[in-house]
């Protein structure tokens, strides 16, 4: 599977997060409401649990070819915060 060529653009990353998470949620028979930068993953009313997030992170690493968590867990609460972690990681990679 070829990696998506992503420039470190927060809007594109957020759109990728939304698309991947929507697929994960659909796989369990539910529907993901539209995701915004302020959407809270856990506790924000989304049909998303830790396993879904774990799956999302694996999917994102495969698509983007980078892992902001390679040195351990880093906290994020909203979709925008998660996108920012990937933006920073992609920018660091150059």
């Amino acid at each position: 599977m070829s990696k998506t060529d992503m420039s470190a653009d927060p809007t594109q990353i957020l759109a990728l997060i939304a698309a991947e998470l929507a697929a994960i949620v659909a796989d369990k028979g539910e529907t993901l409401p539209p995701l915004t930068a302020g959407s809270v993953f856990l506790g924000g009313g989304l049909p998303v649990d830790s396993l879904d997030l774990a799956t999302l992170l694996v999917a994102l690493e495969r698509k983007l070819g980078c892992d902001p968590f390679r040195r351990g867990f880093r906290q994020f609460i909203t979709a925008g915060e998660l996108a920012a972690l990937y933006v920073a990681e992609l920018a660091e990679r150059g």
Binding site: D27, L42, D49, A54, L57, R62, G72, F73, Q75, I77
Partner: protein, 383 residues
Amino acid sequence: MSAAAPAPAPVWLRPGFHVVGDGAAGVAAIVAALTAGERENRLAILPRHGEPALGAPGSGFAVALETSGTTGPAKAVRHDLARLCGRLRGGAPDDRWLLTYHPCAFAGLQVILTAAQAGATLIAAAPGADVARLAALATAERATHISGTPSFWRGFLMSCPPPYPPLQAATLGGEAADQALLDHLRVAFPAARLRHIYASTEAGALFAVADGREGFPAVWLTQGVEDVELRLAMDGELLVRSPRAMLAAADSGGQRRRRAADDDGWLFTGDLLEIHGDRALFRGRKDGRVNVGGVKVSPEEAESLILAVEGVADALVTAQPNPMTGNLLTATIVPRPNADAERLRQAVREALTALPPAARPRILTFADAIALTPSGKKPRTAP
């Protein structure tokens, strides 16, 4: 129950113990079963699903809990209540404990008994509450003590923006605690005592690490820790020996799995260690099972289920390290010629519903072949 003079309260239940939250009724039923079982010398049966019950008259007082596992029917294990209570740390009546585990799991019962013995408050959510709900409850009910798995704590930090409840104690157990998480918790809860507990299925809690670092001091392998002796086998497996562990193993009817213990009382934990400098670090299980969000799962078991699906020529399930849940299972599937990929994907997903959610591979990738190791085997560790 007798309507005569009120029976004396059990030793392990101090006045002042009370339960708040929408899980209070469930905990009350458990406490009632333990109290009745002790008084009537009958087994107190605490199942994962369904109501607590008492064994037949004359069954002898003990606590029957189900082992958690993903293979086969749940097995009941008998525990001596007095011994369970003797191993708990003391507490104060002002303590407010959040229950994060299932109340009928070993760890859950320990939290309930800790609060009961101290005459403290237990905060219990309704069964099935997710980590976000638990975090909200902890804040609303001003929890001071929380014990949970590392996956719970990651979820807690994610669901609960600052300001955090001012915890006095944060305990981790059930999965290896990694350094990044410990550092996060230290920052989030500066006033809290931070401990991660190592336990084995047979022996329960063995030792606690309170220095804020992952793993444990390598010197414990030569000096031991408290009343526990530790040893490293040639292949890196951790062996432990302690009087408490032996009693606990005997309590559970001497349940012995293959090579669970040798004749000198050394228990084979099944956990692998690596020594790095002054530290012993946990590096997976001998049997290849991995921890996904606190649940021990078997990649091979999922693989067998997938291989049994019509249209699958071959499959490989591996565990991938994951910052949210420790590990996550993923599957590579080689379809038979002429198999419809989408229908096959659906069929595999359906087959996997026989396993608990954590044990199911979450990402299914189709491939033309599975790359084997140089010795012709399926690679069991993720690249």
